[in-house]
């Protein structure tokens, strides 16, 4: 298994290079280094010298991908692409275009992102599984059909409505929790209730429906009939037989998301004023801060690949039949 993980990590390198190449290509078709300088320097008294200065200071005064003047290996290395992306592999994200240290920002913002994403994720899975199990217990009854309809209805509502509705009702009208905000010191949970609630409720439709299909698939397996023939009660079958088996497909869908929790949720974070990576990304997109976007793409890709590896590893844990090689 160790060799397997090493191999997967090695395989990640060409992918990450590809990711970098793509982000660079995309962003520099959008933006020339001059554009970046102008948008960072503000709108008054921008002189060409100031732009050149900015470019030199931030390392954008070289050619993008190929530097024919440099000659030799430097044709490839003495370029913006090489300089900016090689450092990423050493996890040196450098500074944002507005001059802040990205690594510091990322590390401090990871906490709040996790503080929201993790409870949402865990509570969400718990609630979804409970609801789905209950529905599966009554499969092929009107209860089941009704529940599926409700699930589909719930998942047909845009996430934005959940957030706006939640804020409007719970926080604004009922004044039960603060409408937004986040303070690491003291009562953090107070700020988490609403985003987590919104996240969970918004996820019930799609989540519970998905789990229901998984459970149903398992419920039709032969071993369930065996368990029934043993004299197991329905509840015991659900929890002791169906659930552990359904964990296998659940893990495929879910484990890959775990690393991505660090990235936070774009919408939840920006609506609820949570200073996490999700809102960081959103701000970066809006202000076209390429250094941040580049770093976040890189981190996101790494987390995705880590998620894939974790998924494989979690298989060995959930399914005794699987061994990695």
């Amino acid at each position: 298994m160790f060799a397997y993980i090493i191999r997967r990590v090695l395989y990640a390198i060409p992918i990450l290079i590809g990711v970098n190449l793509l982000t660079f290509a995309l962003f520099f078709v959008v933006n020339s280094p001059d554009d970046m300088a102008v948008s960072q320097l503000g709108d008054k008294y921008v002189t060409p010298e100031a732009i050149d200065n900015w470019k030199r200071k931030h390392g954008y005064d070289k050619p993008l991908f190929l530097n024919p003047d440099a000659g030799g290996v430097e044709t490839l290395t003495d370029t913006i692409f090489f300089n900016k992306s090689v450092k990423l592999f050493a996890f040196d994200f450098g500074r944002s275009e507005s001059g802040r240290d990205i690594t510091t920002d990322v590390t401090t913002r990871m906490g709040p992102s996790l503080a929201v994403a993790l409870p949402t994720f865990l509570v969400g899975i718990g609630v979804n599984i409970c609801v789905a199990l209950m529905v599966v217990m009554f499969r092929a009854t009107p209860l089941d059909r009704g529940a599926v309809l409700v699930f589909v209805a719930l998942m047909s509502i845009s996430y934005l409505f959940y957030i706006i509705g939640g804020q409007f009702l719970v926080a604004k009208t009922w004044k039960l929790v603060p409408i937004s905000g986040f303070h690491p010191e003291g009562q953090v949970w107070k700020f988490l209730i609403l985003p987590v609630l919104v996240g969970v409720v918004a996820g019930i439709g799609a989540g519970a429906r998905w789990y229901r299909t998984l459970f149903l698939e398992e419920a039709n397996q032969d071993y369930v009939r065996t368990a029934r023939a043993k004299g197991c009660s329905e509840l015991r079958i659900l929890f002791r037989h169906i659930l552990p088996n359904a964990m296998i497909p659940i893990l495929t869908g879910v484990v890959v998301l775990i690393p991505a929790l660090f990235m936070g949720s774009l919408l939840i974070e920006s609506f609820f004023g949570i200073p996490g990576l999700g809102s960081y990304m959103l701000d970066a997109i809006r202000s076209q801060d390429f250094a941040i976007v580049r770093s976040m793409v890189f981190i996101g890709s790494i987390l995705y690949i880590v998620g894939l590896i974790l998924t494989d590893i979690s298989y060995t844990w959930a399914d005794p039949r699987v061994r990695l090689s």
Binding site: Y223, A227, K230, P244, N245
Partner: protein, 542 residues
């Protein structure tokens, strides 16, 4: 039928099914039309019939384990004095596993894949007895020992996939017997097993029936199994029990024509086909097919799986060569290698003196007219989106047989007739046909390009017994007519006598024995062949 039938006095440890009727809830279609039978302690009642005849539904319905789509509309099931259909579900759970236990067909899928087998057996005990902790574990180990699982202590912590098929089925039996039930329902307990293991498992069930005085309902489609194990036989046909008799009476004088047909499908080891003396058509010399095993960081090839490991044989013109072996022995791979669908790692393949193994995709094209194939599963070997006519025409088109459209149509009609289908079937789609019919289409497709050799890869194993005979008969007929040779790949020795001129036995990629059918079936030399043969259920012609 709410009134209890008082006059039925049942002995303890027996199960009686009365007038059981089951329908499909949605359509109202009747699945069981009033089935009645009784089981007695220490006796095995065999319920036989083809797939879809209602055997399994009978057993599941009596335990109230039908899927939601099916519904019991009438009948009673007495266990002792109690009508199980009148019990509330909560009480029914106490009956299952405790008083009536069940064994299912495919142990691999019937066991929970993520629980250890020990836990699974223990669960039954936990549900119905007060055993806990070490005592519980000890009881499971004892049970494992009783059903003949080696090293029962260690096997407790094994997962199902770590056990062989035979051991899995033994676990199923242990699981069923754990609470010492009065009644055992075994639904095709040996179907998925290789013949050698099948025999052991049946013997175990038989022993336990006697030692524990179980009342056993054995559901099977295999008449050989019935002959070997059962005390009493019931034949099911389209939801009805059409015949019931003691096993000896049944085999001596079946009352129904259908029963007769079932019995006739058993092999006759008395008559063999004489080998022909024609020149060899296909010669294999030390053929090897290896699949690389990659391991380690760089996925280097560290070893090879030797799927076919040096096979030499020859097939003569107009001859049927049966290649016999259990699953995984490399039979099918060899077939694919002959077709040049698999690269060979060594040896040579010569067809009419020309070597095939060195040809590339295009070079092989002319030979594809000569060598054709029929696959095991007729359903997957037909593209569901093409009509039967298109399917047959495809090979002709690509190999350039009958370029003229009108003549091609005529040829397709003719072929369909030849395989005893209607010419009008050409415009129909595969899913409208039964498995037997589809296999005929497959034969027609192969014949369409006038081949000299057809590789038949288990062409009958997916078919019911009665249909199987018809297909084999058709193949034999075509051989007589067109002088085509067959390489007949099968795991079922029982069909060999009526079919093959010569036989080869494969084990672990090697051809362990080959000879005429008579030699192999009457005087096997290799121990593996002997074991195979011993486990074939036969009908003594007494």
């Amino acid at each position: 039928m709410s009134r209890q039938q008082k006059e039925t006095t049942m002995t303890a440890g027996s199960l009686a099914i009365r007038d059981l009727e089951v329908i499909v809830a949605e359509s109202g279609e009747a699945i069981l039309k009033g089935v009645s039978l009784e089981l007695q302690a220490g006796k095995i009642f065999a319920l036989v019939g083809e797939s879809g005849s209602g055997k399994s539904v009978t057993s599941l319905a009596s335990m109230r384990l039908l899927p939601e789509a099916l519904r019991i509309t009438a009948g009673q099931v007495f266990l002792g004095q109690e009508d199980l259909f009148n019990l509330p579900e909560a009480r029914m759970q106490e009956v299952r596993g405790r008083r009536v236990a069940m064994i299912f067909q495919n142990a691999m899928s019937a066991l929970n894949p993520v629980q250890t087998v020990g836990q699974q057996v223990a669960e039954t005990l936990k549900l119905h007895t007060a055993l806990r902790g070490q005592a519980l574990r000890q009881r499971v180990v004892d049970l494992f020992a009783e059903v003949g699982i080696p090293q029962p202590e260690q096997r407790f912590g094994f997962f199902p996939h770590q056990l062989s098929g035979g051991q899995q089925q033994r676990v199923m039996i242990a699981l069923a017997l754990a609470c010492e039930p009065e009644v055992l329902i075994a639904d095709e307990p040996t179907t998925a097993l290789d013949v050698t293991i099948q025999d052991q498992v049946l013997r175990l069930i038989r022993e336990l029936t006697h030692s524990r005085q179980l009342a056993v309902l054995l559901i099977t489609h295999d008449m050989g199994v019935v002959r070997q194990t059962a005390d009493e036989v019931g034949v099911m046909f389209r939801g009805e029990l059409i015949e019931r008799a003691a096993v000896d009476d049944f085999f001596r004088a079946p009352k129904q024509a259908y029963s007769r047909a079932l019995i006739d499908a058993l092999p006759d080891l008395g008559h063999f086909r004489e080998p022909t003396s024609e020149a060899p058509l296909l010669v294999l010399d030390d053929v090897k097919v290896h699949f690389p095993v990659r391991r380690g960081l760089l996925q280097r090839v560290v070893d090879y799986t030797r799927a076919v490991d040096g096979v030499s044989l020859e097939i003569r013109r107009g001859e049927t060569f049966a290649l016999v072996g259990e699953s995984g022995s490399g039979k099918s791979t060899l077939g694919r290698a002959i077709l040049n669908l698999e690269a060979i790692a060594g040896g040579s393949i010569h067809f009419r003196g020309e070597s095939l193994h060195k040809l590339d995709r295009n070079g092989m094209l002319p030979w594809r007219r000569e060598i054709q194939v029929i696959f095991q599963n007729p359903f997957s070997s037909m593209n569901p989106r093409m009509s039967v006519g298109e399917i047959i025409a495809e090979g002709m088109l690509s190999l350039g047989v009958e370029a003229d459209a009108g003549r091609r149509e005529a040829r397709i009609r003719e072929l369909l007739q030849r395989v005893r289908l209607e010419p009008s079937h050409a415009s129909r789609y595969p899913h409208e046909f039964s498995g037997g019919q589809l296999q005929r289409v497959a034969i027609a497709r192969a014949l369409a390009v006038n081949p000299q050799l057809i590789i038949c890869d288990e062409p009958t194993s997916a078919l019911d017994v009665s249909i199987r005979a018809e297909v084999l008969e058709l193949l034999a007929e075509l051989q007589r007519e067109f002088g085509v040779s067959y390489l007949f790949i099968t795991h079922d020795l029982s069909i060999v006598p009526s079919l093959a001129h010569r036989v080869g036995v494969m084990q672990w990629g090697k051809l362990v024995e080959q000879g005429t059918a008579e030699q192999i079936l009457t005087a096997p030399q290799h121990p593996y062949t002997q074991a195979l043969l011993a486990s074939v259920p036969t009908l003594d012609t007494t």
